[in-house]
Symmetry: D2
Subunit: 415 residues, 4 copies
Amino acid sequence: MPKTVFHVDQSKSMRDQEVPGHNRWHPDIPVATRVRPGEEFRVECRDWTDAQIGNNDSANDVRDVDLTLCHMLSGPIGVEGAEPGDLLVVDILDLGPVPQEVGPAPGQGWGYTGIFAKVNGGGFLTDYFPDAYKAIWDLHGHETTSRHIPGVRYTGITHPGLIGTAPSAELLAKWNERERALIEQDPQRVPPLALPPVEDGVLAGKLTGSELQKVAREGARTVPARENGGNQDIKNLTAGSRIFFPVFVPEAKLSMGDLHFSQGDGEISFCGAIEIGGYIDLGVDLIKGGMETYGVTTNPLFMPGRMEPRYTEFLTFIGVSVQHEENRNFYLDATLAYRRACLNAIEYLKKFGYTGEQAYLLLGSAPIEGRISGIVDIPNACCSLYLPVAVFDFDVRPSVQGPVVADRGMQAVAA
Amino acid sequence: MPKTVFHVDQSKSMRDQEVPGHNRWHPDIPVATRVRPGEEFRVECRDWTDAQIGNNDSANDVRDVDLTLCHMLSGPIGVEGAEPGDLLVVDILDLGPVPQEVGPAPGQGWGYTGIFAKVNGGGFLTDYFPDAYKAIWDLHGHETTSRHIPGVRYTGITHPGLIGTAPSAELLAKWNERERALIEQDPQRVPPLALPPVEDGVLAGKLTGSELQKVAREGARTVPARENGGNQDIKNLTAGSRIFFPVFVPEAKLSMGDLHFSQGDGEISFCGAIEIGGYIDLGVDLIKGGMETYGVTTNPLFMPGRMEPRYTEFLTFIGVSVQHEENRNFYLDATLAYRRACLNAIEYLKKFGYTGEQAYLLLGSAPIEGRISGIVDIPNACCSLYLPVAVFDFDVRPSVQGPVVADRGMQAVAA
Amino acid sequence: MPKTVFHVDQSKSMRDQEVPGHNRWHPDIPVATRVRPGEEFRVECRDWTDAQIGNNDSANDVRDVDLTLCHMLSGPIGVEGAEPGDLLVVDILDLGPVPQEVGPAPGQGWGYTGIFAKVNGGGFLTDYFPDAYKAIWDLHGHETTSRHIPGVRYTGITHPGLIGTAPSAELLAKWNERERALIEQDPQRVPPLALPPVEDGVLAGKLTGSELQKVAREGARTVPARENGGNQDIKNLTAGSRIFFPVFVPEAKLSMGDLHFSQGDGEISFCGAIEIGGYIDLGVDLIKGGMETYGVTTNPLFMPGRMEPRYTEFLTFIGVSVQHEENRNFYLDATLAYRRACLNAIEYLKKFGYTGEQAYLLLGSAPIEGRISGIVDIPNACCSLYLPVAVFDFDVRPSVQGPVVADRGMQAVAA
Amino acid sequence: MPKTVFHVDQSKSMRDQEVPGHNRWHPDIPVATRVRPGEEFRVECRDWTDAQIGNNDSANDVRDVDLTLCHMLSGPIGVEGAEPGDLLVVDILDLGPVPQEVGPAPGQGWGYTGIFAKVNGGGFLTDYFPDAYKAIWDLHGHETTSRHIPGVRYTGITHPGLIGTAPSAELLAKWNERERALIEQDPQRVPPLALPPVEDGVLAGKLTGSELQKVAREGARTVPARENGGNQDIKNLTAGSRIFFPVFVPEAKLSMGDLHFSQGDGEISFCGAIEIGGYIDLGVDLIKGGMETYGVTTNPLFMPGRMEPRYTEFLTFIGVSVQHEENRNFYLDATLAYRRACLNAIEYLKKFGYTGEQAYLLLGSAPIEGRISGIVDIPNACCSLYLPVAVFDFDVRPSVQGPVVADRGMQAVAA
């Protein structure tokens, strides 16, 4: 079992740990610890909100969450010998919720899924579900159940929502430039088009004073995936995966967090995964000069592990890039097509007795597949959503008998 | 073995068959044959271009293809008792290329993949690959190889690219209205935003005269997926799949064609599948009133079959919604994110000795997975492309040794 | 599509084909046709009994079957350049029932599973089920149902029950010697310990007269698997498989037959597969001197294909090497342990309303897994039988509600 | 995370734990702790030998192991309300090696595989490999490597080798009777046919004096699988599995141990798994009267979990029930057939540079499949062994180029 190189006491905020983490991307954030190529080690993580969400039946905490604190990351881990242009090889050896602890922090035996309010970031279906909701999940080894979504039990597809290397100053400047330009297209939009640097809530390890100020002013928010990996929300980064990250700064400065006990493709309700704190065991290595050797100019690449839960019987919903309510057509818009597939799945599940919100929370968290199906057949993109039927303890397939309707309870709502 | 209800002689055009098929969607196209719920039957199909493409080493035919003839469909099959509001249950029992024939028509022992020229429809990467190219594939049972892309052999994921029910007159009117509105946003665009009805090349079974004229003027082009299913290009509609189609007209009027020996998610080069003529064996049934019962208001739903080829080791490429060349950011644009993932895969494969065009042709045709990974993390959508490593007869994984570079031949080009 | 090198007219006995096959293993049986390494070709096959069994509701034909005619094989195929000591590489490209024909021969739209009577060969559970029974299966593409076993529908795992190369004269002599020695241990046993050469019913291609006499006197019966492959009944030899056969005679002389639409591990009722006639498409190649190079001294080896039906949820029955009725223990006897696992599965299925015979017929034909679990824990071998739960159209899993009992009909019985 | 109900301090023998476990099956062994149906809990385990084997390069400890101490089990766990005739439902929620500890006890970051000497129990191939050997495995999350078998790295299929309920006095008497009868068939055999009760080394929780004496005289050895489950060595009892155990005594008295980080079917070298101490998280429930309801008269049944490592490309070796060295035939002997398949695999791997012992150790520990293929085709049983090719870091498939021979080191040997 590997030694722990980044410790987290789940009873304390990330700010109050002996070695605190960070919540912005910036090359100046100092390494929290160093490892060598070939080494294996454990990193402990807080949940992405630093435990702002509680194990209760009210969604007030989801409604009121302070996003300037997010994502609360562990790291950076310096990798000796890593230089810009290398590929950093990262093996995810194992990961999971906080071991052998029951408590009030996410990951201590439980996790949560939230639908964010439109005024606070929204989500993929925010025009249809503008308010805040929540589901609490109990963890049973690799499986999970929720008192807020009865009738389902499934095997989690556990992964880090966020993992990445630090940007160089040049790369960071490009990020800020292009995201600022996007925001300026509609600066008052709710939810916003992108999130600019913000000084509130910033944490940058042990940095203080003017050094911290610099990170606060320039540091990229951690919400999107970018060239460094980051918040990719790729559910298939399960144990056994090997990731190849581009290296932009000396020592690579690998950081991670936002652990997900499970998540469907797209993490559609923004906080759609089962969010947990926990641990992640890693091995690292280097391919010197690998970015040029393998033509990796932008994003990481990876090989998924062998330990994904095996679901093979699916009910698949389809969507095309048409806004049906207004009979309006969009050009090869895969985002819209996938949104329609999600809405079609929700309408279907409502016929079995679930609320739309329950279905939305389920589709974000269960191991569903979201696929690009047709992307060239003008004008309609076509996307499909694969829902494993074994997730349900009743038969969810269409039949001449019709759906088994039942009282299926209720998600947590805001007061 | 089921009886054949729609016959195709592969030595003749679809126009010259005893009972011809059709190449537009219109409720007035008469049924070619009738079946009863519970019945199993075979339908024979031409390739989607009606055999405009040849088994040779020139891409001139791809460059010059006449798209007004496409897609050449078999049907409509009338299903007795089907009424608007029902769900038509369609079991894909089996399908494949033209049985036991070797010849000049696609599907007679071979298939093709094309990159369409930008001036003739283009494709997903048309700004990067504006010209016409082609690869010919030899079929070996369930596997395939190409003289134009040496070093690969894979198991096809055979499916109908296009299958659907007929629209009602009202639904057809909605299609024409919304697609016309889209075209008007940029009527001169190359390639166009959508394809309006066109009289050239129309075929509507045995209709002639003013009845044919009506179909020619109003009939929807078959290129996009729509509420009736249609050209969904869902690679997972393999043998064993069960599809639930909305019924919009009496007798449902099921049509199909555009058989694919194999295709990756997205069929990215527009003609990216391995295109074949062949046969498809179906069973049909009805869920009366099923659209309302199951909340199916727009698209079909389906359950994939158990016979998909098993690939489990993948190399995964990632893309985000950034136009990196111009450092320009787009808002949660999954289409762009998937395009970037495709470009990243192509750059990678070029390091092994393939041309970009070969890689593009391969990604369209091999059983790759294209997934929506992050769709809420503003501003960047994140998509991922899963390439099965067993497709290659060399080790395509990254390593410290670097890629195995070799002369890997050449795709077919236009003169 | 490959050319057919061995033709079968399903309306005629194998004896009356233009080029007849054979039903004994002997090096002197002349090649029926020749192929070259690298070639792909089709072979047509009769069912293993040469159509002694009919599509009806009586098991009299199973009871009265003449086993001296079995297995009726297609071949031998001579492979140019093959020499003793080589490995013959055989790719199973595709296979299936008789294409596009409905008729009275097995494989013409239907197949059968039989329980043989103890007096006529018996089966794995013959002490428990000594009489003859039958189930007829209708084929629906890759799936099958039986009027004799309602409530099940499954995807076949289609494979040749029997495929192998010809023995040399020396190897044949060894077979005859060791099997004769075994028979002599209990010559009157019913069923017998092994089957010696028998002149009745022999067929050896076009051989006649003294040459045929020689084959009749010496030719090994085709029932067991031996060094040449033969009747291995390996259900995983599905399309896409590559087999490496030892070569014992010049030209290898490959023969095959006994096609199975589906079969569970063990083919437990002797005629436990869904027996069909049909076709098999093959490719061949050679590894010169491969037996020595790869240490292949006895049996073939193979790589399974990618197209096996995907079942992942199983109910698993266990057995150990104890004769529980008499509380008698056997030493690491995997045969007995697997028999007990089969009996345990049958007792379980009877609780849902099936007869023991129906359950027995089902376990032989459905894609069940039979595994060696413990083979060293003295004195008990432990074997396990994995039954895919999706085979049933009701929930077959144990629960506090108890089994869903129903009238589940009846297998075909002998008059 | 469940509470721990059975604690083990890995620095102490099982005898010296606060609540010791046991190493015999006997109804009088008192419960160590009690749980209620519906409860989830953790049990900690020693490796099966109570840490007689060390992390070093000598097999002396394997040669000299004291088997009277084995298997050292945790439990019995009493389940409130369980009565004879019930089915005890046991969910394996999670399991693994000793968490976060590095040390000298098996499971503290490492595990071992042993070939037992013929004079000390032997193994499946003891006539071919009569001496003691060992391999040490380092654990990397879900994967493992061995300095004694370089060139392989694989994902473990972690499971309890041994788990079962207590026998009733009547059942225990039947075991002793039938095993004694077996031993009497050849009392001097080496290795013995079965292991009778033995007083040396007995441990029965806190029992002492005459109560302990009774257990010592009557208690069944834990080596074989029996009606209560026990040492079934079923590699597929991975996390997510649900087992249904027959209940023979009040409170069921569930015990477990012999955790395996990984094991191939058959655990062929007797100590063929990667043996570890560690933890197992369980949930329990009851189906009252379930033995009668579901016809469970002898062995447990189970449903495998969804988290088995996904290997899909295999090299398969075949064996039939012939002793080839003497050309001697056995009647449908699956044990012999599987032994031949193992020997064929070993001969093959030797061609790549492994010693026979390394290959033997690998086949016992890696996630290989061992299948009953033909069990009715008189006189030859046919078994097959599926070796995942991805286990190796070189290409292990047969080809015209021949095997990649290399110096592949050496297993640990006895001095």
